[in-house]
């Protein structure tokens, strides 16, 4: 197990290093500088600004400084917001994003598992068809379309919930639903296939032959075994949620990281774009690592295959 984790961590570090290097090179290649109106500034003033952003050092020194900063969690200084570090800005905005992401992940997976179970238990029944249709629609229709529907009907037409912005829990309901639909549908599909497979296993027949009640079979033998492989799709789901927050925060004007990112893209604030990208990369990679390790712990076959 230790060897498996070690191997994964080394890959993670190589990947992060690669991403950091690419971002640095791109930063140097891209147009845009901290000077908003260069021609109005004197030589000395420009010098001061360049000094502040560390742009006077030779490129290799800048590169080392950049990597050193990254290790300490310093993502650089924004061009637009004077003197504000990118890490600071992100720290300010992580709250709403994390709340949306976690709420959506919990609601999505729980509902998805239930839906998938209903499908599998009443295999080929009406509820199976209905939840299969829900699952196909949920995985196909993009989250921003759902967001538009929710915003127009629930918020504007019926006025049940606030349209946008962020002032408390009720403001998070619509974005959470819009985000949760995709993980829900994916979990439902996955759970359905797994559960049908498990219910056809020999040990289920044994349990039945033993005279166990139907509910006991489903809860004790069925669900527990079907849930294990679900861990594998949690990684891609969480990554999908992060991508989703970029769009959903924009639609519902939630002051999260995603919204900041989109604003920075339109205003060419490269340190924020790169810093956020770096932050996303770290979150993605660490998340996948944790899930891989978790899965290795649960299922011994995975960690054995990692050894060869």
């Amino acid at each position: 197990m230790a060897r498996y984790i070690g191997q994964r961590v080394i890959y993670m570090i190589i990947t992060l290093f690669l991403i950091a290097t690419i971002s640095f090179v791109l930063m140097k290649l891209l147009p845009g500088s901290p000077l908003a109106n260069a021609d109005k500034l004197t030589e000395a003033q420009q010098e001061v600004i360049f000094e502040k952003y560390g742009l006077n050092d030779p490129i290799p020194v800048q590169y080392v400084n950049y990597l050193g900063g990254l290790i300490q969690g310093d993502l650089g200084i924004s061009f637009k917001y004077d003197n504000r570090g990118v890490s600071d800005i992100l720290a300010d905005r992580i709250g709403p994003s994390a709340q949306l992401g976690i709420q959506a992940l919990i609601i999505g997976t729980v509902l998805g598992i239930l839906l998938g179970l209903v499908s599998a238990i009443y295999h080929n029944g009406i509820s199976d068809y209905l939840s299969t249709i829900v699952a196909v629609l949920g995985t196909s229709i993009p989250s921003f379309v759902f967001a538009g529907l929710l915003q127009y009907f629930v918020a504007v037409k019926w006025g049940i919930l606030p349209v946008a912005t962020w002032n408390g829990f009720e403001y998070s309901i619509l974005p959470t639903i819009a985000l949760a639909i995709f993980p829900m549908a994916t979990c439902a599909r996955f759970m359905r296939t797994e559960m049908i497979e498990v219910l056809n296993e020999d040990y289920i027949t044994t349990a039945r032959a033993k005279g166990l009640a139907g509910t006991a079979i489903i809860f004790k033998h069925g669900i527990r075994n079907a849930l294990i492989p679900l861990v594998t799709i949690l990684g891609p789901l969480a990554v999908g949620l992060l991508t989703g927050t970029l769009v959903i925060e924009q639609i519902f004007s939630v002051p999260g990281i995603g919204e900041q990112f989109v604003t920075s893209v339109t205003s060419n604030d490269f340190p924020i774009i790169m810093g956020t990208t770096m932050f996303f990369a770290v979150v993605f990679i660490v998340m996948i690592l944790i899930i891989d390790i978790l899965y290795g712990l649960i299922d011994p076959r995975i960690r054995l295959s990692g050894k060869d």
Binding site: T15, V262, T277
Partner: protein
């Protein structure tokens, strides 16, 4: 039953020819995997419906912009935000496709509500018809008036038909939607095909040569896979000039990895099979083994994987437009149209509805086609 038994003459029967040589001759030609797949796909109702829908959308996206009287970038502020109006269908009132705009206004009394309606509808009193829903009792916003505004008549363009209406800049949405659909499909299909070529070549080479080549190629692949897709796409879009090609390149830079992995795994598995060994023993050259035994067996997987990568490319393109990294104006894609639609969601939701419906239908259709193909080409997966 009794009658039928009597009718059959004994002379009609003769003993079956059961000699040694003929005992293992097949009565019918065996069906190939492809024939089998086509047969099971034909029986799949959802698959066939999806295929027809996809065909319609593709044909519309090619011919509708050509046949249209307007172009996707032709602006005319005089005719901005017109309602959808379609010939023939305009006579069926509940469809709302007669080009008029209807909205309810509240005010303290009927006059105040009507005033609000006039302000919203360009002060064109002559072309607004009012219908009082609620007289009101003088208290705040108690009166309710339903106003219908015929903008086509007000602007004097009664002989023009904007099937899906016009956007804020007076561009014809019908033309823009189909043009955008074509651009989105083009991006998705191009990205999927490039993924296919790179992925199959990479995976095939790694698996076929095996050993050290395979080892190095896979280590490299693992690092690439570790880089989050979103991160690479954003970085690529930033350095390339915005446009269709920038999006295609950004999508393919990480997109090919899953195809390479799948092809490698499958080829590795096939290489160990007895029929390859048999072919080799019989002296078949490498190129023949690849062409006759490996490629046809991997084909199904490749087709299925490509089918699934198209909808994800469509989604990613829309996503990029949404976060401001999409096609520059005035070019239209489903993503940019939806993004524009959100800006006028509260006043004219139709601008969002049309592209959103098309992107949703496209995604559903591609997913169903992919599912159907997977079931048809991979008998093991059939449930």
């Amino acid at each position: 039953m009794e009658n039928r038994k009597k009718e059959l003459d004994k002379n009609l029967f003769r003993p079956a020819d059961r000699t040694e040589e003929q005992s293992d001759v097949m009565a019918r030609k065996s069906t190939t995997l492809l024939q089998d797949a086509v047969r099971s796909l034909r029986k799949n109702v959802f698959f066939m419906i999806s295929l027809v829908l996809l065909l319609i959308i593709v044909l519309m996206s090619i011919f509708a912009p050509v046949a249209s009287d307007y172009t996707y970038k032709e602006q005319d502020l005089n005719r901005s935000l017109m309602g959808p109006r379609i010939p023939v269908l305009e006579n069926i009132s509940f469809l709302g496709l007669d080009g008029t705009q209807t909205k309810t206004f509240n005010g303290n009394n009927v006059q105040a509500a009507e005033m609000k309606a006039k302000m919203q509808f360009d002060n064109q009193e002559d072309f607004i018809t009012f219908e009082t829903v609620n007289e009101g009792d003088g208290s705040r916003n108690s009166a309710e008036v339903k106003a219908t505004y015929d903008k086509y008549a007000a602007k004097g363009v009664e002989d023009e038909y904007f099937y899906f209406g016009t956007d804020r800049l007076g561009r014809d949405v019908w033309t823009r939607v189909w043009d955008g659909t074509r651009v989105s499909l083009l991006i998705a299909v191009a990205a999927a095909l490039i993924d296919l070529v790179i992925g199959v070549a990479y995976g095939g080479i790694a698996a076929y040569y095996g050993g050290r080549v395979d080892n190095y190629m896979m280590r490299f692949l693992e690092v690439i896979i570790g880089i989050p897709n979103l991160v690479v796409v954003i970085l690529m879009i930033l350095i390339l000039d915005p446009g269709i090609w920038a999006i295609i390149i950004a999508l393919t830079i990480t997109g090919w990895t899953s195809m390479a992995r799948i092809v490698r795994g499958e080829v590795l598995k096939l290489k160990g099979h007895e029929f390859v060994l048999a072919a080799r023993t019989l002296g078949a050259p490498n190129r023949k083994i690849i062409a006759r035994h490996l490629v046809p067996n991997v084909m199904g997987l490749i087709i299925v994987n490509t089918m699934f990568s198209i909808p994800s490319a469509i989604f990613f393109e829309a996503f990029l437009s949404f976060i401001g990294l999409g096609l520059p104006s005035p070019a239209a894609s489903l993503g940019t149209l939806i993004n524009d639609g959100f800006k006028t969601l509260l006043t004219t939701p139709t601008l969002l509805v049309f592209p959103a419906v098309i992107i949703s239908v496209l995604m559903i259709v591609f997913n169903i086609l992919g599912d159907g193909l997977r079931d048809a080409f991979d008998p093991k997966m059939r449930k």
